[in-house]
Every structure is written in C-alpha cells, then in structure tokens.
Amino acid sequence: MKTTPLYSAYKSMPGIRCTEFGGWKMPLEFGGGIRAEHLAVREKAGLFDVSHMGEIRVAGSDAFSFLDQLLPAKLEGKEPGTCVYTPMCDTDGGIIDDLLLYIQSSEEFLLVVNAGNIDTDFGWISKDNPLLKKHFRHLVIENLSDAFVQIALQGPLAMDILTTTMEQLYGNHSFDLSDLEDLPYYRFEEGTLLDAQAVISRTGYTGEDGFEIYLNTAAAPSGPVAGIQLWDLFLSQVTAAGGLACGLGARDTLRLEAALPLYGHELTPSTTPLESGLTRFVDFSKPFVGRGALLAQREQGASRVLKGIVMEEKGIPRTGYAVYKDGTLIGEITSGTASPSLKAFIGLAHLETGRARAGDTVEVDIRGTRKKGRIAPTPFYKKPVVSTTD
C-alpha cells in the first residue's frame, strides 16, 4: 500500500488507526475517535491529509476547448482563479469520476480527482476518450498525482487558522493575506509556500467552511519536507484552537451529513449525473462526452433518483441494503452512517423515481429486519448561517 508524504508526520500520533483506501494506507481516525473529529470540524476545525487525491494537469492552447467538450459542467465564462465541480462521463453518460477543475489560466488547468480513479481518469483523459480522434494539437496532459501534497483545513475556525499560520510563515510565502481573507467559496489563489508552488482554495468535502492547500513538493527543493512542515504548523494551530487531526472516518460522516456524493457509492460507471443529484452540474447547452445519452435520459426521465433517508428505528442503513415502500422494493442504500451532528442514523439511497417524497415512510432491510425510515430533504446538515467574511 502507498503512503502519502505526510504519513511520517502523523504515523506516531497516539491512537492513530489506518485503513486501506483506493490503494493507500490512510488514517481512519486519530486517538480521539471519529465522532470527536467530526464534531471538531463542525464546531472548531479539523486537519486532513488528503494527499492521496490525484492531480492531472491539462494545458495548452487547446486545453480549454478539450476540457469544455470532455466535462459536462459549464466552463464558458469561468475566470482564472475559479474552481468548478463536475462529473466526468463516458459516452453512455456513466460517471467515470467526479472532480474539481482548477482554472489557472485560459491555457492551464488542474483536475483534482479521486484517489481510486487516478489511473482510470488519466487513461480516459489522455488516450481513451473519443475527443482525441479530433487531434487537439496544443494539448499537454500530465499525471502529477505523486507530486502534490494536499491538506484540507476545515471548520468554522479554518480562516483564522489559515491566516495565523500564514502570518507565522511571513517571508516564507508569496500569498497576500487580504486576498485569502476575501477569498470567496470555490475560488483559489496561487503562489509559493515554503519552497513549493502552492494553490489555496476555499473548498472542501465536509459541509463546513474551509480550505484545501496543495503543495507541489516534487518540484520543491526541499521535497516532501515542505509538506510535513506545513502539516505540523497547521496542526499546532488547529490543536491550539481546540480542533483535531481528522481521518477518513470523519471525512465520510461529514460528507454524508452534507449529502456530498462519494465515488463508488453514489457515483459509479453505471449511474449518471441525473440519477445522482448532479443534474445542476450538467450544461446541456454545449456539446460534451455523454451528452446524447444524458439528453435521452432527461427526455425519458431518469428511472431512479438519489434521496436522503433518516431512520426512525435504530440501525445504520448500510451500502447495498434494500429499501421498500408499502412492501415493494424501490431501491437500495448507497451510503449510511450514524450522524454525530444530527444524532440520527442517516443514509443516501438510489430509489425509483416518483416512489418516495420527502416525509414518506420507507423501510430499510437491515440484516433481515425491515426498519422504518423517513425520506428527508438533503443535505441532512447545513452549516449555521452566521456572519462570515463571504
């Protein structure tokens, strides 16, 4: 199993437990447990090593045109400095991956993809997709996944911690603090941090405010040391603020409360964006790979939809469990957990279209016992509306 460059920074933390994820040995939780880490992110701050995520660079004068036809999301009119969330579909509309596109300039793009899909994605983008028959001449596609350290700093105190840390690093980075303080959601800044090229975006996968920080440590003179140094600096600030280092366990409960889909669960090659709540990330007004299939599905109506379920009887609705309504099988659970913020058992499910509306009672077959749940609006959790800088 691969470990990230940050592994040596946290491997000796007391109570750490690791798990295999997408070919990587990653922290599942640190000493305090998943629930404590989850609540730290909701109430204060949490720090995640997400360096297992992949980065694919697409550049050149044809890069925009190529990506605009490859990816379903609307890219036209998006300025440099913008992040765009998008699914990536095959010609049948099936989801190959979901990713975050960083628009660095009109000719320079970084695609941040799921760890388990790096090879598939790179193969699809660099050689297997049908667009490449058209001979894009000025197009560079590089897999930089091993070059980057990625740290997610999440929670209501993330901004304070980021600015304090950057102040501590004064003279060791090129970022403008006021630019970071004013950074809107889904925007990013680029610069140097320690001795590495860096990207800081106001993004995340937790349903809280926060940042994702990318360091190209492979190209940095000090190599992974810069990443480890940054992790340690952030962690001391996070800890001082009452936050915690967080593992993939909390990352999953956080994203699930926020109803953010996870590849391999809500999103698979045999599901389409229309079936998984991603219709708003599909721009039908432009040509893109998979458009024909998705358009046909839109006209016929997708046969299933993604819905949230809050259990009324106890038990975790886990992946693959059958869902019934009035005694009839109507679908299955894609993800489920015990929600620390809601203190409830929650799940997402692919259900037959039109069979279940918010408030309806359904039954989930939990190891042979049908337990009652209620179709609930998603996200299950919304961050409190308070006066923030954005």
Binding site: E29, G315, R318, A338
Partner: protein, 129 residues
C-alpha cells in the same frame, strides 16, 4: 490491558461471567477497541432461547455491524437497557458492561470457553496480524 480473571471468554470475543445459574455476557476490551465507536446495540428480547454459538444480537460501530454470539446455551433473562441510549458505555468500560444475561441450560458448556490466559494468547495472536 488486563484481562479479568473472574470470567470465561469465547473465541468470538465475548466474555461470560457467571452468578449462580445466570451468565452475564458482554464483549471484551479487545473487541470494543477493534470495533471502534459503538453507535447502536440491538438488544435481544427477554425469553429468547439460544444455543451456544447462536447469533443473539448485533452491535453497530461506525465501521461495521458485528454479531454477538451466545457463549453458552440458555434463555435471555435480562438485557442492559441503558445501552439503548448510551451504547458508547461499551467503549468506555467493555468488561464492566454486560449486554444480556442468560439462564444457562448446561453450565458444563462453560468448560469449553477460554480462561483469561487462553484469551490473552488469542489477543496476542490477533495483535500480531
């Protein structure tokens, strides 16, 4: 981790502590640690008759649902209702928290369980994996 000497252990990581003809059953410290945070304990109904090795109930942690087996045969005479609202008690004190109690039908079945030393050997082997 000290393994209490006052009880017996099943290979499937339940402990069994007898009080007369009643046996109290819980899961071991080792088991709670590998399960992680317990979020739900499905309690069996009193009066249920079970045979040694039967799945009596299920414990759910964030990670997984795990079956709890009957270490000996008997009838469920008591359940720990406090676990309904505080399943995490098992994480905090696994050896001090019973899940259910059985009226034993054949107390000689206890002889087939591991003693503390035997269970320690099992845990040591587990920890080496």
């Amino acid at each position: 981790m000290a393994i209490p000497q006052d009880r017996k252990y099943a290979q499937s990581h339940e402990w069994a502590r007898t009080e007369g003809s009643i046996v109290y059953v819980g899961i071991t410290e080792h088991a709670q640690h590998s399960l992680g945070e317990i979020v739900f304990v499905e309690l069996p109904e009193t009066g249920t008759a079970v045979s040694k090795g039967d799945e009596v109930t299920t414990i759910e942690s964030v990670k997984a649902a795990s079956a709890i087996y009957a270490p000996v045969s008997g009838t469920v005479v008591k359940v720990n209702n406090s676990l309904e609202d505080a399943p995490e008690t098992i994480n905090q004190d696994a050896h001090g928290t019973f899940i259910f109690a059985l009226e034993m039908t054949d107390p000689t079945e206890l002889d087939g369980l591991l003693d503390a030393q035997g269970y320690q050997t099992l845990v040591d082997a587990d920890n080496q994996d």
